[in-house]
Symmetry: C2
Subunit: 150 residues, 2 copies
Amino acid sequence: MKAIEYKPIGIIHSPFQTPEETPIQPRAAGRAMGQLEVFAEYEQALADLERFSHIILIYHFHLTRERSLTVKPRHEDSRHGSLATRAAERPNPIGLSVVRLEAVDGANVIVTGIDVVDGTPLIDIKPFVPSVDQQYGANLGWLADRYDAG
Amino acid sequence: MKAIEYKPIGIIHSPFQTPEETPIQPRAAGRAMGQLEVFAEYEQALADLERFSHIILIYHFHLTRERSLTVKPRHEDSRHGSLATRAAERPNPIGLSVVRLEAVDGANVIVTGIDVVDGTPLIDIKPFVPSVDQQYGANLGWLADRYDAG
């Protein structure tokens, strides 16, 4: 099947210079502030975004060379299928984070709860829409083992 | 900035043959059943996925030719920046849906609440993890106008 080509629409700036110091997920990132530097040619596409409280970032794990089928996530003892994790080492190194939108100033978007490394290429921004993105009653999958194990 | 290349990891099969008959979002899709035909080379990456109740699908809007900066979503009267919508006509035509996981059988994944057109190339699957993907208190953005106008 044909390869798919996307162009970065901007760059994510964050306080984290290496993957090792980057929080694993937005909740762990707490109030860490990030700036999305959207390229000027896409500024118009941001119209009305500022009215949302949360947005979904889709980005490219540009530091990841491995495209693994199984991974051992940080803080885990066993391997899992990479598509059953959020790890960067996966068939297509695409990342997804839900962050809080603080402000839109021209082509600059300020967010908090950022959990990606500084310089990450941004591919897409989507509004977080509670009626379609919330899943009340969703379970924890294999992550529940951590809690079972006490 | 350099283009990014991804390879489809499978094909999404759904009851919807055209974009016009495809529900706009998973909730509207209700119990519509879909099958993710993951290519055999990626089957191992699905290990442990079956323990999650909900998964996030990332896919390519392959029927979309326009890469618009502003769009008028279906059922809307006014235009919005495409990055402030979930429309297919956006800078990079990437789609995202959260669906319910019913079963994993080898490289076939059965889901319900599917809202994509039959034959859509699948790029990534991620587990939906409540502690990072739920955003209690998220607002409706410009979508709230519909209800205000109600």
